[in-house]
Symmetry: C2
Subunit: 338 residues, 2 copies
């Protein structure tokens, strides 16, 4: 550890008491301008920098930090979310510390522990797996203000997208275009958001009396390679689907790649739809028909709810659960059948 100058050092050099220097340096003056200026100058010369830890022991006059849990950051959805959340938190004067937990429950619980011991003010949890660290999070509620963005943690404020309705709408749209062999790519049973999206898919099929085919619902890890292989598996099915709805655009982009590599065309051979509305998917050709969710709104609501809790403006004991409305964007990745 590097050497730091303390109040004592400054006081010594200035020939004053520690408490006087403390008051001067934190602007709680009543001192002669001359001595004040002198002290400030000496502090600067010596390179004094207040010890935020010591300060923080007594009163949290120091820095206010918020932890942010994201499953990964390679999916641009989360990168955009981090961007929006950080921007807003820093505007409120908070520091963001990031935990990219990446399916590692130990990492999550270590980080949570650190937030508590370090007396952070709160945390935001995005898209965790179901019951990952559930017990730890429940305990942490006593110490930390918490809100979640599309994550299933009981008893905290929460903001969500209309996942089920959104998926239902776009699958309905596919059905309206004459598709009946519709696959569902990227499912993971342990992520609650995806359960809702899957439900939307089921509901749409049911309404149209289309039987559910197990082979059409493909589970997959959420990295590029796994998604690519899952898409490939779908394409090679004896009963190849005419449309694939992807649980998000990160998955959709892998599907594009797999379809292209198989020598097939979108949408002539296979139609594709997605979910999220992240900026990179504008790169996809043909343009992707998708469900857009407003990432900036998710971030804004989450941060506002959290700040209201921290400031005690919101003291209600029942939890908010806010749904943010999706919007369908029709583009060129879906063919009309027949």
């Amino acid at each position: 550890m590097k050497e730091y100058v303390t109040l004592k050092d400054v006081a010594q050099k200035a020939g004053l008491s520690i408490s006087s220097v403390s008051k001067i340096l934190s602007g709680k003056d009543n001192f002669k301008a001359a001595t004040r200026d002198r002290v400030i100058k000496i502090a600067e010369e010596l390179g004094y920098s207040p010890n935020a830890l010591a300060r923080g022991v007594k009163n949290r006059s120091g820095y206010r930090t918020i932890g942010f849990f994201v499953p990964n950051i390679l999916n641009p959805f989360f990168a955009e979310l981090v961007n929006e959340v950080e921007k807003r938190l820093s505007r409120h004067g908070f520091i963001l510390t990031l935990c990219i937990f990446d399916d590692d429950a130990k990492k999550m619980s270590d980080f949570l522990k650190m937030l508590i011991e370090t007396r952070a003010e709160g945390c935001i949890i995005a898209g965790t797996r179901e019951d990952a660290c559930e017990a730890e999070f429940q305990q942490a509620k006593r110490f930390l203000n918490m809100v979640s963005i599309q994550a299933d943690i009981a008893g905290i404020d929460r903001v969500d997208v209309t996942d089920e309705k959104g998926t239902e709408e776009i699958v309905n749209y596919l059905i309206g275009k004459g598709h009946r062999n519709i696959a569902f790519l990227g499912y993971r049973f342990d992520i609650s958001v995806l359960k809702h999206r899957l439900n939307g898919y089921y509901r749409a099929l049911k309404r149209a009396s289309i039987p559910i085919r197990e082979a059409y619902v493909v589970e997959s890890e959420h990295d590029n390679q796994a998604l690519y292989l899952s898409a490939k598996k779908l394409i090679e099915l004896p009963n190849r689907p005419t449309a694939i709805h992807c649980i998000n655009e990160f998955s959709a982009s892998s599907a594009y790649l797999a379809i292209r590599d198989a020598g097939l065309r979108i949408p002539e051979d296979i139609s594709i739809t997605g979910f999220d509305g992240i900026s990179i998917s504008k790169m996809l050709l043909p343009r992707l028909t998708t469900i857009q969710d407003p990432i900036d709104l998710l971030a804004q609501i989450a941060v506002d709810m959290l700040v209201a809790r921290i400031d005690n403006q919101d003291q209600s004991s029942d939890n908010k659960h806010i749904y943010v409305q999706h919007r369908m964007i029709e583009n060129d990745s879906v063919a009309q059948l027949e």
Copy 2:
């Protein structure tokens, strides 16, 4: 601020002294198993969580944090970098706190101040603007171990990509394909990395005795929209370039969009090249010919250098400057002229 249980509370309930409880709870025992167990149980019941700030005042037995400065996180290059850096730091037992500074010098210097006051162990700086907060960074060297990734800060360890050579190589390649009207998209004079890339471009042109056209070097802010408009400007030039080398793939993707929207084809009407090798650019169709730089290596070297400084394994007073080798990836975005 939430209520926390202290050692005193535990001691009281256990009928022991604070110091005894402290020793027991931090495992520095010599106590009867019975009393130890009792204390641990009481601590748990009460929900005791040690105050890391108080601990940290004396000795940094607590949490070790590293600050990471990135200009933005919407460019997947930086998202991937954050991912790699975070993964490695957490493996070394460090917490990452993130500053997305986004051209905001005030935000940078506030964050730097916070790192120092909070007694962080070091920081990593990626891709800053030239002389943004130069003075502050120089001062901070006294307190913080620092390394940079492609950023120009005097007197610290540094890792870079062979930017100039890489750009020269790919522009040479374009020239070899018969191109002479080659534009350079996405330049910003205040980012030193881009100066090196621009130099590579100039050198290649010079070697082929191609005169430099000012209109072909387009400055642009680095967000999607600005880049799109800059690309558009290039396309509409009376003397339209036959090839555009983009300073990175984030820019290239905007160029793709602009070209497509103008009703032109890649590479038949305009050839495109990029720089970085980020995963999303695999989505581009036709596949982008580009210079790949190994992001994981950049992160690894930066973290290793930083950790060596923190652990005092590296005490050398002269700074390392490591170059990581680029690699050209030939794909389908460049046409052979004539």
